[in-house]
Symmetry: C3
Subunit: 364 residues, 3 copies
């Protein structure tokens, strides 16, 4: 539990075990007041072990209970043994703390709502939010202060638009979508036709479709398509400062980590994972279940299930060994010089001797 006030409901370990499933080893009446990391846990906290790197912290943690996987560690406190301890711990967090609660403000008279905008029940539209003409918003949505919802935008139920996020005209946002502060959806694609040295703006007549259950981090930008829509697939999660180019289509359940940039007209299948600062050029296709290591530069199609790294990106194992070798380049060069010198000496030595058939003067 961190230093900020996050009121939780007191639970017993038994209640937690019933909620997440798994096998309980230890006193089921142990009181759980909060959840924390091993190193920061206080008495009453439940913690978890997933990353072996932290195993040593079991000796010193003050946690009152632990969620662990099938590989059961030594510990002095009650254990909850589950198949997927990270998922179980996340369920416990939801149980104890819940997701963000949004203040009930109704539709603020200080928001700017177009007369023809349709807003569903139980929506919270904050002060200084703009809901332009032709907008349709479902039930249970929250539009935070200074968010801008452009003309003709459609937003599904239970979607949250955080403060100062901007959705340009005619984009479509699904249900249970979460767009964080200062992000932009539907700004113009980077499309110019250069003619006689002048860059002429190409109208970006496509839009953006953000499907259900997508989350977009802060300060990210999803460009609208030039002709066809840019699409963020169902359940995909984008980090902070991500940019997605015009007409790119990202499949469902992808994880796009912070500062990734994907150029226009690319396609990603489902369940792709792109590490931080990855770049993907335009007009290429990544299959399903593709993983791209942080900072990689992808310039060619990637087949289903492939894991790639490096710039230009190649198979991960190959890249990992190759990039780890770059610091040895000066040594490699020296080795080659040494070999050249040795060979020269040998050649000279051979030349100095009476030969039979070989022609050492060929060797140079």
């Amino acid at each position: 539990m961190d230093s900020m006030d996050n009121s939780t409901q007191k639970r017993t370990l038994r209640e937690i075990a019933e909620h997440v499933g798994g096998q309980l080893c230890g006193d089921p009446d142990t009181t759980i007041l909060g959840a924390s990391t091993l190193s920061e846990a206080r008495e009453g906290d439940i913690s978890f072990l997933v990353n072996r790197k932290y195993t040593r912290q079991l000796e010193t943690t003050r946690a009152s209970a632990l969620i662990v996987g099938r590989e059961i560690p030594e510990a002095r406190v009650p254990l909850l043994v589950v198949e997927d301890p990270y998922f179980a711990f996340s369920q416990v967090l939801v149980l104890l703390y819940g997701q963000r609660k949004h203040q009930v403000v109704g539709i603020s008279p200080r928001a700017a709502i177009a007369p023809d905008a349709q807003i569903g029940e139980d929506c919270q539209i904050h002060d200084f939010a703009t809901v332009a003409s032709g907008v349709r918003i479902g039930r249970g949505c929250v539009v935070y202060p200074c968010a801008y919802i452009g003309e003709g935008v459609e937003i599904g139920d239970d979607t949250i638009i955080h403060a100062n996020a901007v959705v340009y005209e005619r984009c479509r946002i699904g249900r249970r979508v979460l767009i964080h502060a200062n992000s932009t959806v539907g700004s113009d694609g980077f499309g110019f036709a250069t003619h006689n040295g002048v860059h002429h703006k190409i109208p970006q007549i496509g839009g953006v479709i953000v499907e259900d259950d997508v989350e977009i981090g802060a300060c990210s930008s999803i460009e609208r398509g030039t002709l066809s829509d840019t699409v963020i697939g169902q359940g995909s999660k984008l980090g902070d400062l991500v940019t997605i180019g015009h007409g790119t289509r990202i499949g469902p359940h992808c994880l796009i980590v912070a500062q990734v940039g994907i150029a226009g007209s690319a396609t990603l299948g489902h369940h792709c994972t792109l590490g931080g600062q990855v770049g993907v050029v335009g007009h290429i296709a990544l299959g399903d279940h593709v993983t791209v290591a942080a900072q990689a530069g992808v310039i060619n199609n990637v087949a289903d299930g492939q894991i790639v790294a490096g710039a230009p990106a190649v198979d991960m194992n190959r890249a990992r060994r190759a990039y780890a070798m770059i610091p040895y380049l000066p040594q490699i060069r020296q080795d080659i010089r040494d070999l050249q010198n040795q060979l020269e000496k040998i050649a000279a030595a051979l030349e100095a001797r009476p030969t039979d058939s070989a022609e050492p003067q060929d060797v140079e």
Copy 2:
């Protein structure tokens, strides 16, 4: 034509040919309702072929007409043959769809306009926009909701400031400039004088000059200069999440793609193109017509017309071959070991024989 409603005016192919020039092969009375890519075109759409990668789509496209270059492909539909098909297609898009239309709202009473601000005719200043003291805005400008125009800023005619964009005090924005949502112009340069381990803020007394016809993408930041102004040259186009350091001067007609970062006091000539995620260190000069490949890191001056890639960036052709070879580093190392082993054996073999003049013991 995409799934979103973009009403267009019906045209004949003849009208289109008259508008963009070029040679018409096929029925001039063909009706054109919209424009689209080859793969997404519907009956009535005009499409185009520029990238040979898409030639195969000619067989299946449902487009009713095509704009093509001098290298005329086989096709079953009327062709409009032009010098620069991409430019021609962009002109058709403008003809059919036009650029973004801005709602006429006048000067909203819900905007915060300083009494001494001067605003030209036909401007649209939206709710919750701020126009601070001493600001001068030309004719035909649009300032979207929650945009902030700081004290003493000057903005030329027909400039569009999108929602939540921020222009700090005393910056000068030209005519027909387009600044997208959540971008910042004129925030402080990253300037600190470190003294006894403490970083002291250096006042950033320069400003930013954004010349005519510049476009700045979403979530980008142009820092104000420490002493002299940061300049974005006429007609240059910046993508999303770009950052330009204090005092840097970008010449006219440059293309700066998404996530590029240019440090302070750098200069770029005209018609430079920087690919996505490029980094440029401070205090260096890139000439005219310089091209930098995506993700490159430029740490030295670059001469006019040069194309560079890699980090540190070198000549593109050289870089392309070199970086493609990184994955072979483990093989290279193995080859060297093999050579070393073979050489050892040869040296041993030579040593084992009666020698004349050579001294194989030297060879090691």
Copy 3:
């Protein structure tokens, strides 16, 4: 002095010398009207020389006085000789121009202030700013238009929140902090538990602590912690478009340049410097006084005082020599082929001769 109006107070060189210390060589009554770079200085300006790169400009500068270090250059104008000329010049800038002046607006009736929010004396809360329930703001703070201060946030004295910056609920911001436009503090960490192919959102119950004297550039994002707080240490300065992951702790007096991305649960000691576009993976520790060169990718712990570069990052000197050698990879490969060919010939030559004990057929 730049082209924009920055009114300064006229000073004599004597007054300046008294203010910054140092030794004055030349007429103490020289009038100083402004400050500028060597190349842009006009008569009446004071300038400085730190970077030798600019020494040649001494011949042509129109500056009326110069601040220089102990290595005194030839110059035709009065010199102020100091230990740390860059710091002295920055002091002169503060003396002549001061830091940004903030308009006195009081608490705008057009701001949205929760009834229970506490706001100290001499604060300026602009139009369209939101100060949510439970917020406590110290004395002398400025909250610019459309900034959002979420529920329960605490802000220390003399802190400036620029236009459209967003601080999510329960974050704590110190004194004299400066957060630039369109930046976000406390948005959700990128935390998902993937179960059966679906990414479940993990509540981010930690917060963000931004300590005293921190500056955060424009369009940057600091994520709130999952369990424990994300911390930006006292006096640290972050550039534009920086992102700091959930639970990461940055020590005091660090310099984090533009577009750096640090993943979650990392720790940085004090006085670290990270160059532009650096990436740091999560769960690692950088010691004190660590320097990371631009674009590097740090994937392992870094010891105190180390300077690293490259991706993956290694010791700077080693990296510099190694990366400079990448363009020679094609040559290296050719060298190896040549060696292989030569060796083959030698082996053949040896095989062709009568041998004693060596077995050249082994050599291949």
